[in-house]
Amino acid sequence: MAQRLVVIGNGMAGARTVEEILERGGHFDITMFGDEPYGNYNRILLSNVLSGAEEESGIFLNSLSWYEENGINLRAGIRITRIDRFAKVVYGDDGSVTPYDKLIIATGSTPFIPPIEGTYNAKRGFHQGVFSFRTLDDTRAMIRYARDHETAAVIGGGLLGLEAARGLLNYGLKVTLVHAMGHLMNSQLDEQGGAILKGSVEKLGITVELNAMTTHITGKDSVTGIKFKDGRTIPCDMVVIAAGIRPNTEVAAASGLPIERAILVDDQMRVQDEPDIYAVGECVQHRGQTYGLVAPLWEQAKVLADHVTGANPRAAYHGSRTATKLKVAGVDVAAMGITTPERDTDEFVVFAEPRKGVYKSVIIRDDRIIGATLLGDVSKVGFLTQAFDKGLPLPEERVRLLFDLGGPPAEVSAAEMPDDNQVCNCNGVSKGQLVACVSAGTKTVTGVMDKTRAGKGCGSCKSLVAQIVEWAAGGEVEEDPSANWYVPGVPYAKPELMEAIRAQNLRSVSSVFAALSPGGKEDAKSKMGLVSLLRMMWGDEYEDENDARFINDRVHANIQRDGTFSVVPQMKGGVTSPEQLKKIAEVAEKYDVPMVKLTGGQRIDLLGIRKEDLPKVWADLGMPSGYAYGKSFRTVKTCVGSDFCRFGVGDSTALGIAIESRFQGLESPGKMKLAVTGCPRNCAEAYVKDLGVVAIDGGKWEIYVGGAAGAHIRKGDLLATVDSPDLVMQLTGRFLQYYRENANWLERTYSFVPRIGIEKLRELLVEDSEGICAGLEERMQEAVDAYRDPWQEGLEPRSPGQFKPSLPLLPLPMVPVREVHA
């Protein structure tokens, strides 16, 4: 027969412990007693229910059906009054007697109600209008009462009091927060931090009274006000007491179990000297410590489950170092360790910006973090928590503990975060566990949260969890070796792939597959990237295969949503002529082009051209391709420069045209969009181009690389300032060739430049520190010499049916044609 396990308490600790036991395959007949007539809910989120941010249904962790499915006998609404530890039975307030073989006490805490006169009413417990804030029923009662009352006093300036005050604001109440101590959240924050928090809270519209010891609640039939020790009174028609919690040891005390501040347990979570009684959560005292946070509770639950099931009889709990990260009354707060320096030799690093509600402090002793407080900006909490937990080495510049100085942006931090970095501090889930879950096939944020329980505690890490899951599912997972491959179907990183291609003299896409892919297998997804690489490497010695090209490169035009194409003739530097415009107009009329539009790159786009018309369109245009369709050199945007513009200090137009003439159409890992602008007013937007050139006074030119103004916005980094257009051409050639040879497939310069680093690029390309520049220039020259304008391939198809329509039966065009009104 299975052993009988009885659990007193159906809160977060009790239910979580049972979950851990079930997970270890523990065979017990389980009976759970809960005071509250519900399944188990997330008490931390009650403040969200109060504020209306969350529905009641959203905070349940275990629904009633969960108990049923796991064969648990839930006796919700029954309070255990006494344990007979000799007869091994528990007595319920309904007269029931339940025998156990193993017993777990998880009775949690009860609100601390300070001795304030007028709190209670002889007939009905609390006086009319007085509330505590601990349970779902408390929350419901507060909401009901708040709806038709006007002023509230919240007693207690800790976490719970702040949350209650914030929540009550949503019901239109005028709220006063009353705190007996000198600053808010005094057990987590130092005085300065508390003062800044006070400012933030007041901005929300909450009145804060500090050093205010409440002695009386006034009002005959219902609350009318409160009175302080110094005699002052505040009128209010509702009082919420949120003055902290005390371990709920009532049952244990009534049953003769050992208690100091809470129930005494050993390292296996057994009640002292009781082999068959365990206790867990806020009701226990372990090595002199009690805890009021969830993270230690989860650790205790694991140890308890390991021990009671026999899964690991040597499991031991050694106490927790608690770091809190939470959002209190809309303000981000993180705190760990001590709040103020204790010794003269303690380092104390502080930043305060009260106007923005930001406060950060770190206390360091012997090169280790022993305390930290973050308020208003908790972006550094990840590292600080790790450093606090594990005693990580600290940066020599202490300011880096508080700020990212030129650090990587958020998306990179998800990628660079070490695997053992704890993401969910409530449920103890690391980045590695999240990634593993994604790799095992769960690709949705909610799915991963369900499986790992990350984000299921206080919920404050949800956005970080989402970032990591998205990152992990985005095909860049570190554990996935193909992440480093140049293309997914050929298992080589770019440098090794280039080496193998050169060594084996592979000049066509099919020969690369035959020689280098597993089993010689073709891979459609890899073809475009290989075409680009081989063309870059071999120039006109590349053996072209039409089937390896993406459709745009097969027909030298950009495919549109309805299967038609857009045609963009070259217009170097955005400069055109009446002749060109006439020709374009004639072609547009002749082929009934549905839309003629200016592009962002200063050219003219003919949209909606049928595939079969493309060769005729090019022949009629008689202009070179503008390459508006490939992963290649696109265009050089220019301003009017010094010829016409009264501000221009350099001939940007001429230089732009020269650059475009030289590097036109070169294939590359990603698009290359350039600009040259004639003065720092930057009309050609050169700061946000893959390579942008800016003329500055004194005949000088600045060259910026790695800029972007698309889905990503990034200002380019200054590569060099040079004296002449010739030097601009030279450095442009070096940079573009280095990018072509070293960037990953589809890696735009805005990722490539920060990945390599601008200092490194400067050394390599400007100072030629490794002597590679001559080679880069030589190979670039070969590529330039090998360039052929694809629109001059002629009217003869390169392969049978190259321009045969693919969807002639569909009604065309699907893109709506816009009428142009004068």
Binding site: S510, K521, E522, D523, A524, K525, K527, M528, E545, N546, D547, A548, F550, I551, N552, R554, I559, R561, D562, G563, S799, P800, G801, Q802, K804, P805, S806, L807, P808, L809, L810, M814
Partner: protein, 106 residues
């Protein structure tokens, strides 16, 4: 019934071409492995021209939004409804014949 779409030479190796069969648009692919596959020519996702897609011996990728379909089964590997599959064979004289599978509904 089988319908000729002409000589195998009219299909470039590794590419797809569209043919009209009985009012259906059919994308026919000649793979580098020497097989001929025929699937419906319109991507079920957003009407993309399947014959313009990059293909290998197993799959074709729609050029518009990169949805992937198996040439032999028509099944999508990116969560789209399947393409319809047509029978395709090459005669001794090098003629490509397409057949519609027995129609399921009248």
């Amino acid at each position: 019934m089988e319908i000729s779409i002409g000589s195998l030479d009219s299909l470039p190796v590794g590419e797809g071409r569209t043919f009209a069969i009985d009012g259906d648009m059919v994308a026919v692919f000649r793979t580098r492995a020497g097989m001929v596959h025929a699937v419906s020519a319109v991507c079920p996702h957003a009407g993309g021209p399947i014959a313009d897609g990059l293909a290998d011996n197993e799959v074709v990728i729609c050029p518009l939004h990169q949805h992937v379909f198996e040439l032999a089964t028509g099944c999508s590997r990116s969560g789209q409804p399947p393409l319809r599959v047509y029978g395709a064979r090459v005669t001794d004289t090098g003629e490509v014949l397409l057949s519609t599978r027995v129609p399921v509904d009248a």
